[in-house]
């Protein structure tokens, strides 16, 4: 039937119809395909930019806790950040029923020894790495004879210490590896009653932090 139709059409009519419609359709089709491919490439690039940005935020952070409190605790004792010293921002999402004191550290100078004495109020010690995130947490339940003590170090410093340990001898030192050179040791004490606050502050600021060696 189609053969009959084609033969019935004037010889010049079929090619003429094709040249009138096809180039536009082809051009629009090609443009749409090109646009879709470019959009797909853009979305792919957006995914890469998104992931790289999220991973780079901690490294580029200038307002994270470890950066803004970097000058605190250098005198060998933790310093209160509830409320923060003048000119420094307050802790976000802080519990009004707890006090926190911080010791900033830079392990480039060597491992940091942290010593806390327990009291009647719940005490927690955490190691916060620079760029956000908790590397280690311990509570006063782990204290031995009322003292909680650990040493913060890098993986390289831990390897050195392990190499220097006497063979067959178990070290009594609690060693904590920090994923970053800089960070914060946070002593947090729960304030169970309003009149406990001064005791809680004394307990938090009583945490000693200094070079281990």
């Amino acid at each position: 039937m189609s053969a009959v139709d084609q033969t019935a059409m004037p010889p010049a009519a079929a090619p003429a119809a094709q040249t009138r419609t096809s180039p536009w359709l082809v051009r629009i089709g090609r443009s749409l395909l090109r646009f879709a491919l470019l959009t797909l490439a853009g979305l792919l690039l957006a995914g890469i930019v998104h992931i790289v940005t999220v991973f780079r935020v901690p490294a580029l952070a200038a307002r994270d806790a470890a950066t803004v409190y970097a000058a605190l605790g250098m005198n060998g004792h933790a310093e209160l950040v509830t409320p923060p010293p003048a000119g420094l921002p307050a802790i976000l999402d802080a519990d009004p029923n707890s006090v926190a004191a911080v010791c900033s550290y830079d392990l480039a100078g060597g491992p940091l020894r942290v010593v806390a004495r327990t009291g009647s109020l719940p005490l927690g010690l955490t190691v916060h790495r620079r760029g956000g995130g908790v590397a280690y947490a311990i509570t006063d339940r782990a204290a031995i004879r009322g003292v909680l003590e650990f040493v913060v170090m890098t993986q390289e410093q831990l390897d050195d210490r392990l190499a220097k340990d006497e063979e067959g001898e178990t070290s009594r030192e609690l060693r904590v590896v920090s994923p970053s050179l800089q960070g914060l040791v946070v002593a947090r004490v729960a304030v169970r009653r309003a009149f406990d606050r001064s005791e809680a502050e004394a307990q938090a600021t009583g945490v000693a932090c200094g070079l281990a060696d």
Partner: protein, 191 residues
């Protein structure tokens, strides 16, 4: 033509990538959270294996989250019926808390800042509340004074409840908690 195509791809990729990353880390991320009844928690926010989105969120401000093992924070922005917490209403918080050495329950604005109420009480601790005969908590949140454990609210606006459990064994597996193990939040009435 090629320059325009390249510019389009770069503009779309960089623009969409940066904007989506900014929104993704502007608040606590959706994934990694544990929803237990009206309460939400991010158990890994204080763990070593924290996800990159939560870490980026924490890095954008002076956050010092509770460490895993140190405690657990739970946040509720809605009541048990799924309605947003509104300071024009009265709420009753009842029930028990999971085992912990201590806890505090407070109300904040949506950014975690203390509420500006007429009376200066932002929270209760386990040592401060008056308990019922069965030992459970019963705290009423309202603008006007209430008998018993009253947590004052401002005249209006949305708010959140924050429950912090200190030294609790459930901090590492908060996702397995049942809603009955946490305080219930019921709306009493609204103005």
């Amino acid at each position: 033509m090629r320059v325009i195509s390249l510019a389009y791809v770069i503009a779309l990729g960089a623009g969409l990538g940066l904007v989506s990353a900014r929104y993704a880390v502007a608040d606590r991320p959706w994934f990694g959270r544990a929803q237990i009844g009206a309460w939400t928690s991010w158990p890994n926010s204080g763990a070593r294996d924290i996800d990159p989105y939560m870490r980026a969120y924490l890095a954008r401000g002076a956050h010092l989250p509770l460490g895993a093992g140190e405690g657990l924070e739970l946040i509720a922005g809605e009541d048990d019926a799924g309605q947003a917490l509104d300071a024009r209403c009265r709420y009753r918080v009842t029930g028990m808390t999971p085992p912990a050495r201590g806890w505090s329950l407070g109300a904040t604005d949506l950014a975690g800042r203390p509420l500006q109420a007429a009376v200066e009480r932002q929270s209760f601790t386990d040592a401060e509340i008056v308990r019922g005969e069965r030992g459970g908590m019963r705290i009423v949140l309202a603008t006007t004074p209430e008998s018993g454990n009253w947590l004052p609210l401002p005249a209006g606006g949305r708010f959140q409840l924050r429950l912090r459990l200190y030294d609790t064994p459930i901090s590492s597996h908060a996702g397995e908690l049942r809603p009955e193990a946490l305080p219930r939040i019921a709306r009493i009435d609204c103005r």
